[in-house]
């Protein structure tokens, strides 16, 4: 029977600025007697990268701009938090009491530019997304290859709210060594009919599957290994998460919300 397994690396340490994430993964796996294999897809929570890459900011070190003060009046947020969001933002989509919804510098549509403080030490500290999640993922992928001799895929993930449906799910926000899509367009179904639209964003499904073990509170399981998905994974792909971006014009949901 076709199957895949998702493993959570137990005992992954709290990450500090400057840490070598790939090394932590390989060491933690080693302590558990777990060996990384060719074709594994390693899904890693964004916070791990943000901490290692010193993307944690103390609010008291932030000076809010005039624009941040103006926007803060429309929200229930600290102007310095708004300032952080603005610095990470390409385009503001919506300002409400609870959130700024933006397209961030990376092209990601997200709440508060993906900045939050969960699982970040220090009352006043917030984690920004990595500068370039694809680059972070690629560095990690290459380094795991150096340390283990294995060829893996790396997916950086974060939980996101989505329109129309309650709750959050895990999305991919950085990717290295795996394809993002399984494209069925032009392929035939069970009855020989050609599929015209179907192009599944499997990289988001990798992230979603991993979240089931990852958890979001004090589980301390930010690294999940997916094994058995060789048929699904396109190796080696140079696609980055930009491929997931859809222009407003192409978005089927344009003008709906």
């Amino acid at each position: 029977m076709k199957s895949f397994v998702a493993f959570a690396l137990e005992g992954f340490p709290l990450v500090q600025a400057g840490d070598d994430i790939a090394m932590l993964i390989v060491e933690t796996a080693g302590k558990e007697g777990f060996e990384i294999e060719d074709g594994d897809v390693i899904v890693i929570a964004q916070k791990v990268f943000s901490k290692a890459e010193s993307r944690v900011v103390r609010l008291e070190e932030v000076v809010a701009s005039k624009r941040a003060f103006e926007l803060a009046e429309k929200t229930a947020k600290d102007p310095r938090f708004i300032e952080l969001v603005l610095r990470e933002t390409r385009r503001i989509l919506k300002v409400s009491r609870d959130i700024l919804l933006v397209e961030d510098r990376r092209g990601l549509v997200c709440i508060n530019a993906g900045i939050d403080k969960s699982n970040i030490e220090g009352k006043d500290c917030y984690a920004l997304l990595p500068e370039n999640p694809d680059v972070s993922a690629e560095k990690c992928r290459v380094r795991i290859g150096e340390l283990t001799g294995k060829s893996v895929g790396v997916v950086m993930c974060d939980t996101y709210s989505r329109p129309f449906r309650r709750g959050q799910v895990n999305f991919a926000i950085g990717v290295a060594g795996v394809g993002l899509f399984r494209d069925y367009r032009g392929r035939e179904d069970l009855f020989g009919q050609v599929l015209r639209v179907k192009n599944v964003a499997v990289v988001d499904e990798f992230a979603a599957a991993a979240e089931l073990l990852m958890g979001q509170a004090a589980e301390a399981r930010p690294v999940i290994v997916l094994r058995g998905l060789r048929d699904v994974v396109i190796r080696y792909s140079r696609q980055g998460v930009d491929e997931l971006r859809i222009s407003n014009e192409e978005d089927l949901f344009k003008d709906v919300l």
Copy 2:
């Protein structure tokens, strides 16, 4: 190490109107020497239910209404197809050349009311969503219990486009015996900070994980068993997919697209 496994039932037969899906699952598993276990979450493609429940319609049997003809002029669709969509629709959200985007009778925001013809036999035949996917899932869950003595969860899934991100992913559209969310609100993170927002829609993550093995073309693997998620699954839940619906007022993305 914490882990879960996803198994694809191989050799699942083509489903006919009137078929007992639970029986087909148990029989197919039996042929593979695979035993259903307590706590398994069985994710099943919507098409399987639609076929078994005689929700396949031949276009030549459909008489298009005046309204369907009017809308057909704005699209590239057959008026009879539009008529099918209208019958399944509560509210039209958008009409464009390629799609009708609607809130369907079940409250699901979806393209063409979830009607399509992939993996449906007959040039002229289209599958409608089951009348009530939660009821279909619950019947299947109860019947699997009768046949095996095991307590399982059942999730009916379908692939959906989503705003802002390219490609489709699998969503849950019917559910029985499992909770839809893992709610972290009020729980503490690694550093004792209380989480205020996080409420993960794990049922959509079940669907996404299953899709990785399911495929969308001629794979003939519409049934996936997820095993090892007892910590994630709330048993027994009476929640239905209505819980996933978010009102326009509550939707953080309102007025954005």
